[in-house]
Amino acid sequence: MNDHDFMSESDRDIDLVRAVELELNALAETTDQAEPFLIKKLHRRAFLKLSGVAGSSLVLASVLSGYGTAAKAEDLGSLVGSIELNAFIKVSSEGKIVIYSSNPEMGQGIKTALPMIIAEEMGANWEDVEVLQSDVDESRFGRHSAGGSTTIPRTFDQMRTMGASAREMFIGAASISMELPRDELHAQNSTVSHLFSSKSLTFGELAALAVKQPLPDPKNLIFKDKADYTIIGTSVTGVDNLEIVSGLALFGIDVRVPEMRYGAYQKCPAFGGKVISANLEEVKKLPGITDVFILEGNDNVRELSSGVALVGTSTWAVFNAKKQLRINWDESSASKDSWTQMVSRAKRLHSQPGETLIAETGDVQSSYSNPDHQTIEAFYEYPFVAHLCMEPMNCTAHYKAGHDGTPDNLELWIPTQAPTRAYPVAKSLFGLDQAQVKIHQMRLGGSFGRRVYSEYICEVIAMSKQVGAPVKLTWSREDDLQHDFYRVGGFQSVKGSIDQTGKIVAFEDHFMGMTYKGGRISGSGFRATEFPMLNLKNTRATQTMFDIQTPCGPWRAPGANTTAFVIQSFIHELAVKAGRDHLEVLLELMGEPRWFDQGNVRSLNTGRAADVISLAAKKANWGRSLPKGHGLGLAFHFSHAAHVAEVAEVSVDASKKLKVNRVTVAVDVGPIINMSGATAQVEGAVIDGLSTMLGQKITMEQGRIQQSNFHDYQVLRLPNAPEVDIYFIQSDYSPTGLGEPALPPLAPAIGNAIYAATGERVRKMPLTDEGYTI
């Protein structure tokens, strides 16, 4: 993606037409259809070439550290900056602005949001901006990664710095050209104007001179006042939407390179099993199959597991041949995990405290034994779940063996949340230095934490190396569902008491989670600071870990997505026991506005919490009377620095058919960058949360995952999607991420609403296991 041409928004339609025509002509003219449409023909870059927009393009590099010393150059190729160089702004003499997005886009909207911040500070007109995905090069672009709802908080100031420094360079150039003092100049709408006359010059007219201006010292940059924002906080449609609705190549799975072959990979159904032998010769004879071979692997499920690789002339050929494989597996050290056994073990342990003490304050025991207190306990359960990205795992690799003394090199097209993680495995498994590896980051068809691992990358590198040709590896849905890094399942035994006034005075949690071969699993652990541990005087949290061999990993709001269900449901149980209004009890728990961790703006603030709880309740008309079988449920959860409260309105009939009518959400993540993107994340989190809570469950026996495809692992469907009402409190704190935190409160809000509607408590997910349908 090193094309340096430009295309404006207005060129897009023309170029779309050209691309479609090109494609149709190619279709019509092609007689030999072995490789009629290489990726370039359908790709945006092709449009750029077609559009013929030239002009002396110039580059403005904005450097975050090493300001003033970092190089700035005439073109991208020679730009060298500090490793914190985070994005590029290019402006042509015709006023086209290219903003590079360096972070992976997986549906969280970052490819639109970050350039909006730059464009805002720069004074650009959004219509002039073209956003391109950068390639992977940390020395030029800074850190490439997305995850943990951290991209916005991590880069907000950096993006503003870049935009503001570009703006200052334009103003500097305008000051020279117009012979006017800088402080009489103002940048807006891609134009620098004089405040006291009608004089103005466009960014395009100024580009050549602007690039020669000294890079401003970031300390002297003044960011725009919020009141002057024209882009941040508005609704902007996603920058890739035209490609998406036109079916143009964006995703990893769409990659096509010359001479490319198609790959599939069969691993042992029980994690950790190794190939002893297989009917390779027989399968090799199947139509469209060119190579079938065993990869030994390195016994690291995050890298290369043992398996049989198939390479052929189409995805269908290798998928089909894969079904004909007969493999002898050595399962002596493979997983024997059994969900049934985990459940019975947890049930045996639930009434005792856990093995390890996590945190303790006051004295829960004396609260329990106080005759004036009422004490209740409950056992909660949640299963393993899969990520189920709509785009199955895939990657394209071209391993080129060196010759005549030139080193081997590798080109990768990866849909991943963490592109640079390919470097260390290219080194450790294939002996390649970073300089020998070129990475293209592709759009991700969903990720939710799944694509932080590199095993599908390792598999395809090994395959391409073996066959000496570029290979696109595509996992079948069965591979994807049965070889995931699952959201870890678990159990929590909770206990609490209320005093004679109905106030919650003690809380205890025995967290039963998992370790993977002795190591920590993302999301499986109880935090000492977990709500309401710091809100009460008598608390105790203990933990017992079961060791497993089923790979687990981060899944949208790790930890929070299950712990919120337990705690926010149990607080409702306590409120019910006390005969009190849930809203009142929640607000009472928050108490006076304060930070849980004074000085840490990423910690829970009880004032912000109370505000979102009150707002959600008010907007949902909390307390209103509802017909029989209907109920409102409230929940709050703090995660990823975000304060989110949700109220669900459900109805349940006698046959336990559930209808979620509406979910009202109140969110405080500070200022919103892209209103359309932000509401999309909340809508998505609510529907994802409901989908998961309702019917998703991965079980394993004898180490084998028992679900295989969408027929036995279902996703919520369009007619069942609730209305989602979203309200943002745009507090003045710096903005934080929204990809995850709206999901955790959903499950307890639904559970509490079901209780309100039926008197039946939900302590186990998924709901279909409890007899509910939708």
């Binding site: 149709l24 549906g107 449609t237 939407n241 999309a680 495809n709």
Partner: protein, 177 residues
């Protein structure tokens, strides 16, 4: 392997493939029409939805050899050269996509619906879209975009679009940007 003549997006094309090869892989791997997506391979998710003679089908389970002589339309052929289909424009205006992966299948299902019912009710939308999964949860915007496309477009447009692709209606609504 055998040669088959397929009519895709108004063009006659010859492919040389196994008789059982599903249309999905003929499109993606043989013809490079990657807009039609693979999600499950067992007719459960709708990511691979295309039109055959105007009706939505699942390309992942339909052998291409069975479609000889029938007009096939994919997402790449939905726009009329110079004009996006009203649904494509509505999808942009409503900013439907999150990851975007399911959306060509969603749009193709919606296009088949509008061809039959230019002013669909919510129930019509429920029935037509029930088998298209969206893992990212864009369902409410999908519903909104279908209504928007319907409202913005004279109903004869959708009839005219049946199978032929001679769209003459220029329809644009304000973008959100």
């Amino acid at each position: 392997m055998a040669r088959y003549q397929l009519n895709i997006n108004g063009r006659d094309l010859e492919v040389d493939v196994e008789a059982q090869m599903p249309l999905l892989w003929v499109l993606r791997d043989e013809l490079g029409l990657i807009g039609t997506k693979f999600g499950c391979g067992i007719a459960q998710c709708g990511a691979c939805t295309v039109h055959v003679a105007g009706k939505p089908i699942r390309a992942c389970v339909t052998p291409a050899s069975a479609l000889v002589g029938q007009p096939i339309r994919t997402i790449e052929g939905l726009a009329d050269g110079t004009e996006l289909h009203p649904l494509q424009q509505a999808w942009i205006d409503v900013d439907v996509a999150q990851c975007g992966y399911c959306q060509s299948g969603q749009i193709m299902s919606a296009a088949a619906l509008l061809a039959e019912k230019p002013s669909p009710t919510d129930e019509d939308i429920d029935a037509a879209m029930v088998d298209n999964y969206c893992r990212c949860g864009t369902y409410n915007r999908i519903r909104k975009a279908i209504h928007l496309a319907s409202e913005n477009t004279p109903s004869q447009f959708f009839d005219a679009s049946q199978g032929g692709g001679d769209f003459h209606v220029k329809q644009r609504s304000e973008g959100q940007s």
